[in-house]
């Protein structure tokens, strides 16, 4: 009887069941088939023999990776760059949001927001072009500044410098994303009860103390959640950014896992090793996301991603 009801229901809604077919096909083909493709990481893949006929080699590819300088270098760079971004870039939007919130003129606040959100909408390739101009040691703004302080012609090309390149990744990331990063914090600040500020004022708190004792605590949960998710993305050190900005001169300090996968496959034709690198990254990511989501839920049951 129940099964009969179910069938009647499905027949009545059959259009709904037809509608999901393209979507299911899409996810099957473009997400689940590549997941199956990762099995290549466990094969001795050669283009000539194809996927099916290549021999199984177990974990040999992974073993080889961990003994390859290129891989360990990429892994190290990925973690270092990620940690730099976490330490230096992550706090800036919080600071900016708190300060933006203190602006009395709503119109002016909007103007500043419109200005600082802008680079988020611009691709890394374009920003690479802009940086190329600004940092040019012979014509750029950096040249003007150095000349002003009497260091004419003594500027390094930061884009080609091993010492500065990682710093440049952090600074350019701040320039591009810090403004837009304030969006969620601003939204959270808007939900703080104004009475809390009134109460703080009555207690004699000045602006600074209000920021410290009301605004910042109001942001606490948002900060913790975003921080945790950022940690979950530890192995994503910014493929589009690095790929747009780096050059052979700075590979040593900026080759990350994603760019290494690309090079293994398309410069060296080592598809199995490249896939193994990808699988390693995807698995670590999965574990990190599961752990960080668990922690996020512990802190605030509402805020896990799932």
């Amino acid at each position: 009887m129940r099964a009969q009801n179910m069938w009647r229901q499905i027949r009545k809604d059959k259009i709904l069941y037809v509608m999901v077919i393209p979507g299911i096909l899409y996810f099957f083909v473009f997400d689940y088939i590549p997941m199956y493709g990762v099995l290549m990481a466990f094969k001795d893949y050669s283009i000539f023999e194809g996927f099916m006929d290549s021999d199984w080699v177990g974990l040999a590819n992974f073993q080889q990776l961990f003994n390859t300088y290129g891989f360990t270098r990429a892994l190290r760079n990925t973690i270092i760059i990620s940690i730099y971004q976490l330490v230096f870039a992550f706090p800036i939007p919080i600071l900016l949001a708190i300060l933006l919130n203190e602006l009395r003129s709503v119109l002016y606040q909007r103007f500043v927001q419109t200005a600082i959100y802008l680079p988020h909408f611009v691709s890394w390739v374009i920003i690479g072009g802009i940086m190329f101009a600004i940092l040019s040691p012979s014509t750029g703004v950096i040249y003007e500044i150095a000349s002003f302080f009497g260091y004419e012609g003594k500027v390094t090309n930061f884009l080609n410098s091993k010492e500065y390149f990682r710093g440049l990744l952090v600074v350019s990331n701040i320039w591009k994303e810090a403004g837009f990063g304030t969006v969620l914090y601003m939204a959270t600040i808007a939900t703080i009860n104004p009475q809390q500020y009134e109460a703080a004022k009555v207690d004699g708190a000045g602006k600074l103390r209000q920021m410290w004792h009301v605004t910042l605590p109001g942001l606490r949960t948002t900060i913790v959640i975003l921080l945790i998710f950022r940690v979950g993305q530890l192995l994503n050190a910014g493929l589009e950014q690095v790929f747009a900005l780096y050059s052979p001169l700075v590979y040593e300090v900026s080759e990350i896992l994603d760019t290494y996968v690309y090079k293994l496959a398309f410069n060296e034709a080592k598809f199995a090793l490249a896939t193994a690198t990808g699988v390693f990254k995807a698995l670590v990511c999965l574990v990190l996301v599961l752990i960080t989501n668990y922690i996020a839920k512990k802190i605030d049951s509402e805020s896990g991603l799932f």
Partner: protein
């Protein structure tokens, strides 16, 4: 007093963000013979449109522009169609199997096959070197799917059910009830997709080899990485004679031309984009 310092500080932040764009624009408008030695801070040194002329005389820019526009329009339309088509049935409570399908979609956010298996798939589908490779593999973003599905769920249950009892077909309900009520979320998601398509470049690096099919961002990238004049096609005697002086200027003109469309639409879309981010951050 504090407010004045704050206003000044924020002005500084805004200028620091905007100035680099201005600098590049001024550089591109300067007389190429006078840019060496710098001095372009607020206004161009001399004035010349030579770099733009050189750039616009080449075929590459137009192809790249055309391809990026096709990608933007076709890509976003397919995205919206596919995402809505998939999100609506799965937002209907009585749909049998919706939890398992949703779970399968969700899992794709946690684990992906990665660059190489995707590349081999696109290759075996014969999509390499076609714009399809930039449109079809990203037809539905799981993230946007969830935003849309959650939004549909916040409006639908009772209205949906009563429409169904009144004998309205699910399609009719979608078009006459759900979609009109979901305009903000659809606009926001269309913007997410559109901005993504306009700025994306790594997939084009992977999937597109031929110059004629290349998109604007990759055109700009090869322009920056190689000699811009060679990129524009050939180093004949005329080219080489002005080579040293205009190389950088042409690069800057390319940056300006690439960023211009976004700068023009940005003031109009910014508000809706930000609103969309907030809709998405409310967990459904």
């Amino acid at each position: 007093m504090g407010q004045i310092i704050l206003v000044m500080f924020m002005l500084l932040m805004a200028l620091l963000t905007l100035y680099p764009f201005w600098h590049v624009l001024m550089y591109s408008l300067s007389d190429p013979r006078r840019v060496l030695g710098g001095g372009i801070l607020l206004i161009p040194r001399g004035f010349s449109l030579t770099s733009y002329q050189l750039l616009l005389d080449s075929k590459g820019v137009f192809d790249a522009y055309k391809n990026s526009l096709i990608r933007l329009v076709a890509g976003t339309s397919i995205n919206i169609f596919m995402t809505t088509l998939f999100a609506y049935p799965l937002s209907v409570k009585r749909f049998i199997g919706r939890n398992s399908i949703t779970l399968l979609v969700f899992f794709t956010m946690l684990f992906q096959g990665g660059m190489i298996p995707s590349y081999l798939l696109v290759k075996s589908l014969g999509m390499l070197d076609t714009l399809w490779a930039l449109i079809i593999p990203g037809a539905i973003s799981a993230w946007n799917f969830f935003i849309m599905k959650n939004y549909f769920q916040t409006i639908s249950p009772e209205i949906e059910e009563s429409a169904s009892i009144d004998g309205a077909s699910p399609l009719r309900t979608l078009f006459t009830i759900i979609l009109p009520l979901s305009k903000p979320v659809i606009a926001a998601i269309a913007l997410f997709y559109a901005v993504y398509h306009w700025n994306a470049y790594f997939d084009a690096v992977l999937y597109i080899q031929s110059q004629d099919t290349q998109v604007l961002q990759v055109f700009l990238r090869s322009m920056m990485n190689t000699s811009s004049l060679q990129q524009l096609g050939g180093a004949d005697s005329f080219m080489t004679s002005i080579h040293a002086v205009t190389e950088e200027s042409v690069k800057m003109a390319t940056v300006v031309i690439s960023v211009l469309p976004m700068l023009i639409v940005y003031p109009f879309i910014q508000k809706y984009y930000v609103k969309g981010i907030m809709i998405g951050s409310v967990k459904g």
